[in-house]
């Protein structure tokens, strides 16, 4: 899938407006984030470029979302381009780096290898959904406290992965276990020692 297709595939269900980007696109998706169906979705044809669009009814960070998507659209592109949730990062787009990690029903998964069409009936949580109002999640706070990053591009994926590791699978019993269980999240800057420190500390607070 090339970049052109990504945008075309993801955007073609709405209108040309999603190509414009910026504030207009943000305005289009704003109702979604307040829990309403995407009203702009109701009008367009059920097929675009000969592809039959798929209606997805899901919840993202607790808000119900109804979208019509190209069946080729990944959850990653849909979150970023349609819902303007750009905290989830596109690293390799091949399931090899972990930057796109989100939670589906509390389990950590790769949004780049998840088709948006399959998200119906599931709860999706992204990095934007971790905070409690203005209060950071303990894992986010620990990454800040330990400076568990350098460039920060992998950080949302690291944090989403670490939160599910502790909450869904149970805390790690050693630093080696943290390294093994976090091996699906690559940090190109190699901030690993501080990432391990952050996770070790956050685990104590999360208990």
């Amino acid at each position: 899938m090339n970049e052109q297709n990504d945008v075309g595939g993801a955007g073609s269900g709405v209108s040309r407006r999603s190509f414009v980007g910026g504030s207009l696109a943000a305005a289009t998706v704003a109702p979604l984030l307040t829990g309403q169906a995407e009203t702009a979705e109701a009008a367009p044809a059920a097929t675009v470029d000969g592809v039959t669009l798929v209606t997805v009814r899901t919840a993202v960070n607790g808000d119900p979302v109804t979208l019509r998507v190209d069946p080729r659209a990944t959850l990653l592109d849909t979150l970023r381009e349609r819902l303007d949730l750009k905290g989830t990062k596109k690293g390799c787009d091949r399931g090899q780096c972990g930057a796109c990690t989100v939670h589906i029903d509390g389990r950590r998964v790769l949004s780049c290898l998840t088709l948006a069409a399959t998200a119906s009936g599931h709860q999706v949580t992204t990095i934007e959904g971790l905070t409690d109002g203005d209060r950071l999640h303990p894992m986010q706070q620990a990454f800040v406290d330990h400076d568990g990053l350098q460039c920060g591009f992998c950080t949302p994926g690291q944090i989403m992965s670490a939160v599910a590791m502790v909450e869904n699978e149970g805390p790690a019993r050693s630093d080696d276990e943290i390294r093994e269980r976090m091996s699906g999240n690559i940090c190109r800057c190699s901030a690993y020692p501080r990432i391990v420190d952050a996770i070790r500390d956050a685990q104590r607070v999360m208990r």
Partner: protein, 325 residues
């Protein structure tokens, strides 16, 4: 990604009813979505099977039954698997990453495609991807490629860790199609590349894996999976060994051995099993028994190390299994 139509199936019957060449079943998506993006695989129809009732992990008098849609992480965590079939749990935990294990299904894992970089690169010839176009790996970078079961048309390694202990334990695969159901041994489910490396198994175009059964045995509980790779985690095997022994005192009365990372399919080592049987479980026995492990190997320029590494992997696996008794 090429266009396709998308449908959700709600029963096995519905899923297989309209399946034909060009239809792809979507479970975890970790192989299919990846290969569709690369345009290595371009189905015209994708049937989402995630809502089919193909779940469940259970033990009975026959053995361990696992539904095809069970996820790798859930199978690895199941007490029945950990206690009765430890090498199956170990192979799962040593596969991929936590995120991928949460997504990937057992049926999909068995159908996972090779990691041969030429297969994944549509700009290079590959007989598996495009029959008759040639094999780029034969004279290319072939460090990770197979040395056993290869042909002049293909030397791609079978990538699954899970399939290695499953083959050692004589696992059967349950299949369903519009014509009915059938069960085949996993070992012969996989075919050798020969002149048709695009055909990897006996699955018919309209057939779906519904589950597997790992037979009950006196040796499965005393087993170990060892994986050797370039980095310690999140990497495919250069070599791997699944070893299971039944002992009476110090004597090996039954052995089940298979290897991964070296073959074009998961490689059962029956000659090694025979050489272990009836002997004391000692390092001398292990060393002697694995001498034949790489017999018939056809190494290429960069993977000559695999024959020696395979024998060492087997000895270490057998030794660790004995030490952990």
């Amino acid at each position: 990604m090429r266009p396709y139509t998308y449908a959700q199936a709600h029963s096995v019957r519905e899923a297989v009813r309209d399946a034909k060449p060009g239809t792809a079943f979507l479970a975890g998506g970790t192989t299919l979505v990846d290969l569709m993006k690369l345009e290595v695989v371009s189905p015209d129809r994708v049937v989402d099977i995630n809502r089919l009732p193909l779940d469940g992990i259970s033990l009975d008098h026959e053995g361990l039954h696992i539904g095809a849609l069970e996820r790798m992480s859930d199978v690895a965590a199941a007490p029945a698997v950990r206690q009765r079939y430890p090498m199956v749990a170990q192979a799962l935990e040593l596969s991929a990453s936590a995120q991928l294990r949460n997504m990937a299904s057992i049926g999909g894992n068995l159908l996972q495609r090779t990691r041969c970089s030429y297969f994944r690169d549509v700009t290079t010839p590959c007989n598996k991807r495009e029959p008759g176009s040639g094999c780029s790996a034969l004279e290319g970078i072939n460090r990770s490629h197979a040395v056993l079961g290869t042909s002049d048309a293909c030397i791609a390694t079978h990538p699954s860790d899970l399939a290695v202990p499953l083959v050692a334990l004589s696992t059967t695969v349950h299949l369903a199609s519009a014509r009915g159901t059938r069960t085949v041994p996993l070992e012969t489910f996989y075919t050798l590349p020969g002149d048709t490396p695009d055909v990897e198994n006996v699955l018919r175009p309209n057939e779906l894996i519904t589950g597997i059964t790992v037979p009950r045995s006196p040796w499965a509980a005393h087993s170990l999976y060892l994986k050797i790779r370039d980095r310690q985690s999140y990497e495919f095997a250069l070599t791997s060994a699944a070893v299971a022994l039944q002992l009476r005192g110090r004597t090996i009365v039954n052995a089940r051995i298979a290897a991964g990372g070296v073959g074009t399919r998961p490689w059962r080592l029956t000659a090694v099993e025979r050489a272990l049987t009836g002997r004391p479980a000692t390092s001398a026995t292990f060393e002697a028994a694995v001498a034949s492990a790489a017999d018939g190997a056809r190494p290429r320029e960069h993977n000559r190390f695999k024959s020696v590494l395979l024998r060492r992997t087997l000895v270490r696996a057998l030794t660790e299994l004995q030490e952990n008794r």
